[in-house]
Structure formats: C-alpha cells, structure tokens
C-alpha cells in the first residue's frame, strides 16, 4: 500500500482555513447555545421548586423527555417542523434547550447545596423571598454551578457535529466535506480532532481551576 499518502502535510494545511471557518461557527453555536442553556436551565430549576404540581409534573415530563431523546432527532424534527426558521437558529436553540435540561440539574444541585442555615438566617433577618433568592441563595448557588456550566460547554462544543444533519457547516462538517471532495479524510478529521482538543483542553483547565478555587 502506498504509505506515503497516509499523512500529507499539504492537505492538512489546505483544509485548515475551511476548518477554522467551521470552528468559528462551532464556537458561535456553543456560545449562543450555552447562553440559552444557562438561562433556561435556571428557570427550569426554579420552576421545579414551586409547590404547584400542575406546573412541575408536566414540566418534569418534558424535561425528562428531552434529556432522554437523542439530540440529532430533536434537531431534525424541529428543523423540518419550523421550516421558516433558519437552520443555524434551529441549531443553537435546540442545542440550548437540550442542554438546559442538563443545566437545570446542575442548578438544582447548586441550589440544594446552599446550606439550609442560609435560608433560615435570611428569614431571621426578615428578608423578603425575592430578595433572599437574589441576594443570598442564587449568588451562592451559581458559584457552585460554574464548573458544571464549563463542563457542559465543553460537551456541547463537541456535540455540535450533529448540526451537520440540519445543514449547518460547523467544523466537523467542514472536515467531512473536504474529505468527501478529496478523500483526504485522515488529514481533515485528524485536524478536526486536534482543533477540538485545542479549544476544549484550555477550557477544561479553566474549569478545573474554578473547581479548585471553589472547592
């Protein structure tokens, strides 16, 4: 076999601009998705704490359903149902909603990890409910959730390849396309892997730093 062709640096360089362009899409999707996930996740976590079963029971069902359904299927369904919504919007919204269901768990854990004494001190100081949440509970809970948020950002980042199914050319698809045209898959996909690593490793270091600082 012609082993000289296993790795071709020229190809690896050639694909790089395409990949970097895809990477910027990937990062946009991740950032936008993460904004939705972190805000919506918080609202879900808060809504789940209301005593009203009329709200929590259906909400829990929907959240569980989204969590246990493959992301790919959700993307395709929404893409085909809401045909007037551009693909990339479907992309980050579905990513965001999907991960919001995970994030709500992180928030829940973060809220529950705030010691009960904090609630009681707030009551003893006669603070109103809303003020207690805003000034005491959430600042502490959100501190606890930062590492979880970071980890989900990394994982969302690496799930953006699913967006290929709805025609969003992020990094993985850019690599695939290059491969499909040239069949230099090894170079293209290896570079994709390295770029993933180049972004997710520093992020994960950052998250670890936070974990240690918050521990």
């Amino acid at each position: 076999m012609n082993n000289d062709s296993i790795w071709d640096w020229e190809r690896a360089w050639e694909v790089l601009p395409d990949l970097l362009q895809g990477l910027s899409v990937t990062i946009q999707m991740t950032v936008l998705g993460m904004i939705i996930a972190s805000v919506l996740g918080l609202f879900i976590a808060l809504a789940m704490r209301t005593p009203s079963r009329w709200l929590t029971t259906p909400l829990k069902f929907v959240v569980d359903f989204i969590r246990m359904t493959p992301l790919l299927v959700q993307l395709v369904f929404v893409y085909l149902l809401l045909t007037w919504v551009p693909g990339y919007v479907v992309g980050f919204v579905v990513l965001g909603v999907h991960y919001a269901t995970y994030m709500s768990e992180v928030y829940r854990a973060g809220i529950e990890a705030v010691p009960k004494g904090q609630w009681e001190a707030a009551t003893a100081l006669n603070m109103a409910k809303g003020r207690t949440w805003r000034a005491v509970i959430l600042p502490q809970a959100i501190r606890n959730t930062l590492p979880g948020l970071g980890n989900y950002a990394i994982s969302m980042f690496k799930e953006t390849p699913f967006l290929f199914a709805i025609s969003v050319t992020e990094m993985y698809k850019a690599g695939q396309d290059y491969g499909a045209n040239t069949f230099s898959y090894i170079e293209a996909l290896t570079m994709v892997g390295l770029l993933f690593l180049a972004v997710s490793y520093p992020t994960s270091l950052l998250v670890r730093r936070m974990e240690i600082r918050l521990a």
């Binding site: 010691p115 904090q118 009681e120 009551t123 003893a124 006669n126 109103a128 005491v136 502490q140």
Partner: protein
C-alpha cells in the same frame, strides 16, 4: 404599632404543640417572657429548646396553640371558628422585632462583613445606606470587629464570625434576641470573647433575650430566669442562683450533674 405596655409579655407561648410526624416535641407548652427579661433555657439534648426558638422565628410551623409577640398573635390566629395562619405579610411586620443568632453563625459568604450587616436594615427596614453603614460601624466597634469591616466572612475565625452574626442581628434593632447555643461551635478559648460581647449587650441594652446555652456560668451571670426543659415540658423554673445551687426537680439535678461534671 408595638404594644409596649409593661404588662404585656414580650413573648408568650399559649398551649403550643409541635409534632414532627409522630414525634411530639412540644405538648401544650405555656410560658411567657416579660419585656426586657433574660431567660435561659436548659435541658437535655432533644428536649425541644431549639424548636422553641425556631417556632418563634417562624422557621417551623406550629402544630397547635398560639405564639404572641408583645401580645400580637404572630403565627396563627383564630378567625371565626378556625385556625388560620397569619399571612406572611403580617408575619414580616412582627418578625422585625425578633432577631436570632445561630449556633452555626450562618453569615452570607457572598457578602463582606459590612454587607452582611447592612443587608436587612437597607432592604427590609428601608434605612438609607449611609445610615445603615454608620450603625453597622458602631456595632462592629462594639463587638470588636471594626478592622474586619471589608473582609470576606470566610477569612474570619469562628469566634469572629459569631461576633459578626451578633452584630448583624442587632443591626435590625430587635426587641427580642434569640440565641441558640451561640458558642458551642467555637474553640473553647474563643468562647470567652463571644460571651464577653453578649455580656456587654445584656448590660447596655434592655433587649428581651431568650437563650439556649450550655455555658452555665454565663447563664448564671446574665439571665434573670432559667427554665429547665425536658420532653417538651418545663420541669423547673427558677432564678439562676436557685436553679444551679439548689434545684428541686430530680431531672434537673441529674442534668446539672452531668453537664457541670460531677
């Protein structure tokens, strides 16, 4: 708004019941604390001392009976023929008269020392921020924590945290102060500091105090009356001198022997 006639007790428990599931903790408890009196609750673990303070602070719901602050029904009231919970709005009005210091301090770690103290004066009482800060600084002075004003609470030792917690409770200008074993999470040598602060407060103010403590020496010095609790009942009630030197009830004798070291 406040009924300050000398005859009305600051705190009154009327037939108070408290159950946790099947566990009856308080069963028809009656007692009252006159304005400005300092009352210490003693009793074995699990006898319900903490529960009394928590009920007063509305951290727990009553199972039956009434609690009155300055003669106002505070948590529940009879309306027509029925038990009705006092709406949160009215509770909040009364609750401003009550402050509590916890065993575990419960400072807010996301705020500095100063922010902890001014939070409620500003946002609950509606004081101006400048006033609140001025008051807070005076209180910090009093508890000997002036230099730590802008520290994070977790940069403080336990004793320091507890002193800030006391200042925080006092910043609300309470008429009634509840203290639940405020020294038992502290290192033995530091306890004295905190007790000194409390002693000074007892001497310089006329706040009504209801305290749970195992520091018998302190209880003796500071309180006007000691209530011995057991199984959710007051088994003995006396001035501290009598209680500690000459208890009448067997359960009290036994308890004091165990605690004071026999």
């Amino acid at each position: 708004m406040t009924n300050t006639s000398g005859d009305v007790p600051a705190i009154e428990f009327r037939d108070v019941d408290k159950r946790f599931g099947d566990n009856v903790v308080l069963d028809g408890l009656n007692f009252s604390v006159p304005q400005g009196q300092r009352v210490t609750l003693i009793g074995p673990s699990g006898s319900g001392k903490t529960t009394i303070l928590r009920l007063l602070m509305t951290l727990e719901e009553l199972s039956g009976g009434l609690i009155l602050i300055d003669g106002d029904p505070y948590t529940h009231e009879y309306k027509g023929e029925k038990w009705v919970a006092v709406p949160e709005k009215r509770r909040r009005v009364v609750r401003n008269r009550v402050g509590m210091v916890f065993q575990q301090f419960n400072l807010f770690p996301n705020m500095t020392v100063l922010e902890n103290i001014i939070e409620s004066p500003v946002h609950v009482l509606g004081k101006s921020k400048a006033d609140a800060i001025a008051d807070a600084e005076r209180l910090l002075e009093k508890v000997g924590m002036s230099e730590k004003r802008d520290f994070n609470t977790n940069q403080l030792s336990g004793g320091q945290q507890q002193r800030v917690a006391i200042a925080r409770a006092l910043a609300m200008d309470p008429e009634i102060l509840l203290l639940d074993e405020v020294t038992s999470a502290l290192d033995p040598e530091i306890v004295a500091d905190v007790l000194d602060v409390l002693r000074e407060i007892a001497e310089t103010t006329d706040i009504t105090m209801l305290l749970v403590t195992h520091e018998m020496q302190f209880a003796r010095e500071v309180s006007d009356r000691v209530l011995m609790f057991d199984k959710g009942q007051i088994v003995e009630e006396a001035d501290p001198e009598t209680m500690f030197t000459n208890p009448t009830h067997d359960r009290t004798k036994e308890f004091l022997k165990a605690v004071l070291g026999g």
